[in-house]
């Protein structure tokens, strides 16, 4: 019997926090969006495809994707010193790998598409919120994509699997403690484009977590699609 029987905020185990989506929040960008899981808010802006300088970084067979993720200093309870840090660079890279798999820049050799993700308010699950915002912004920017993607965090608190982890759950220490897992799935291919994990989980439980993640991402994808279909006026 798991010690985590009721979630801190009363949600069902497979329920995400309230999702908020806003499109075109940054007029200067070619595409932009805001995506929030409850009080974890992510903003994303996309610029490109555009010429890439310096020349030696260009890829003559297709365009490249660059992703930068950062948190605002006041987005967390203990201030994050402004400027790049290792965690931010890692999240930038894994997000870049995830999104590079779904964009199709074959028709844009020698160009770059820049994706900038910023977090103004954080309550765990920031990298997955950032990915969802980025997917919306890329679509809005008219960047060709093979498919869309959706991301979510799955947690294991003692032996209980939950969808969309909050900070309190991340800090859970009873029983087997907290395991925090991030997943990003392709909307059509259902391929895993991003996954990271911290904690302690058996292979069988991880398979369960992955299934739970895929189901949650399907639902999130439907919301992303709806938002894009409603927000036609630009």
């Amino acid at each position: 019997m798991s010690k985590y029987t009721k979630r801190f905020d009363g949600r069902k185990f497979d329920e995400t926090r309230k999702i908020k989506i806003e499109l075109d929040i940054i007029p200067n960008a070619d595409g932009s969006a805001l995506f929030a899981f409850g009080d974890t808010i992510a903003m994303a802006a996309v610029y490109g495809p555009k010429q890439l300088h310096p020349q030696h970084m260009q890829n003559p067979s297709k365009g490249i994707l660059r992703v930068k993720y950062d948190m605002m200093s006041f987005s967390v309870t203990e201030r994050k010193k402004p400027g790049p840090n290792r965690r931010g660079m890692e999240i930038s890279k894994v997000s870049e790998w995830a999104l590079a798999d779904i964009v199709d820049l074959d028709s844009f050799p020698n160009t770059v598409v820049d994706v900038h993700i910023m977090i103004p308010q954080a309550n765990a699950s920031t990298r997955v919120a950032g990915l969802n915002a980025a997917v919306l912004a890329l679509a809005r920017a008219g960047v060709p994509m093979k498919e869309m993607a959706a991301a979510v965090s799955i947690g294991k608190m003692d032996k209980t699997l939950v969808v969309d982890v909050i900070k309190e759950e991340e800090d859970y220490e009873e029983g087997e403690g907290a395991t925090d897992i991030a997943f990003c799935f392709g909307s059509r291919s259902k391929k895993v484009l991003l996954t990271q994990l911290d904690g302690k989980i058996s292979p069988a439980e991880l398979k369960e977590a992955m299934k739970l993640g895929e189901q949650a991402c399907s639902k999130i994808y439907e919301m992303l699609k709806d938002a894009l279909k409603k927000g036609v006026e630009k």
Partner: protein, 232 residues
């Protein structure tokens, strides 16, 4: 059926799709612009309007960077001068290159910078689109450097609305504002009037058109707008 009704009818056949969405299923269909066949399905590779013309399925993008096509008139800014021509920012993924050989009169190498300098505006035509850049020409009448006037930037997808069918909208704007106007397919519009008020009026009307671009009967609406706003 007038122009607006025809546009309206066509619009009904179009469905807004997102990347990765299946547009139609069936072996008969052919994948057109921004679509791909995946098994039985024709799948969208772009956020836009899916359109079926017979067996061909394609996507009309609603957004995205301007893609230069041969024959397009574009307006750009010179960013660099080389020994044999000018490099221009044409608001596209690739810069444009105007070679010395494509000027209306012979320009020798010493005159290059005095003929067109960095930061100046040029109205040019796209000759060819290559992997790394776009070749431009200003040999035709009406093209060339613009030394006066101002530039307004719009989303390039709104350009067809600003020009209108057979130029009906752009002619309306020129008539009502008294301005000289050139619309670049790349979303840059050059305006020159006889007074500040004329130019401001033209700029405002273009911004109004881009705001209402999804509406049917836009030309009639703008005729009304011009009457209501003239002299304000």
């Amino acid at each position: 059926m007038n122009e607006e009704e025809r546009v309206e009818e066509k619009r009904e056949e179009r469905v807004l799709v997102v990347p990765g969405e299946s547009i139609v299923s069936g072996e008969d269909y052919l994948p057109g612009d921004w679509t791909k066949r995946e098994g039985k399905d024709i799948v969208s590779n772009r956020y836009g309007l899916a359109e079926k013309s017979g067996r061909l399925v394609k996507i009309i993008p609603l957004s995205g960077i301007y893609m230069p096509r041969a024959g397009n008139v574009v307006i750009g800014t010179v960013t660099d001068v080389t020994f044999n021509g000018w490099i221009m920012d044409i608001n596209a993924p690739y810069s444009g290159f105007l070679p010395l050989s494509e000027t209306p009169r012979f320009i020798n190498k010493e005159e290059i910078q005095s003929f067109i300098d960095i930061g100046e505006i040029v109205v040019a035509k796209v000759d060819a689109v290559k992997g790394k850049g776009v070749d431009l020409t200003i040999k035709i009448r009406g093209l060339g450097k613009k030394e006066d006037g101002m530039l307004v930037k719009v989303n390039h997808s709104k350009v067809p609305r600003i020009i209108g069918r057979e130029g009906s909208m752009i002619n309306l704007i020129k008539q009502e504002t008294g301005c000289d106007i050139i619309v670049g397919q790349n979303g840059l519009v050059w305006i020159k009037g006889n007074s500040v008020d004329e130019e401001l009026f033209a700029k405002k009307s273009i911004e109004e058109i881009t705001r209402r671009s999804f509406v049917a009967g836009l030309t009639e609406q703008m005729e009304k707008w011009f009457k209501e706003n003239k002299g304000k």
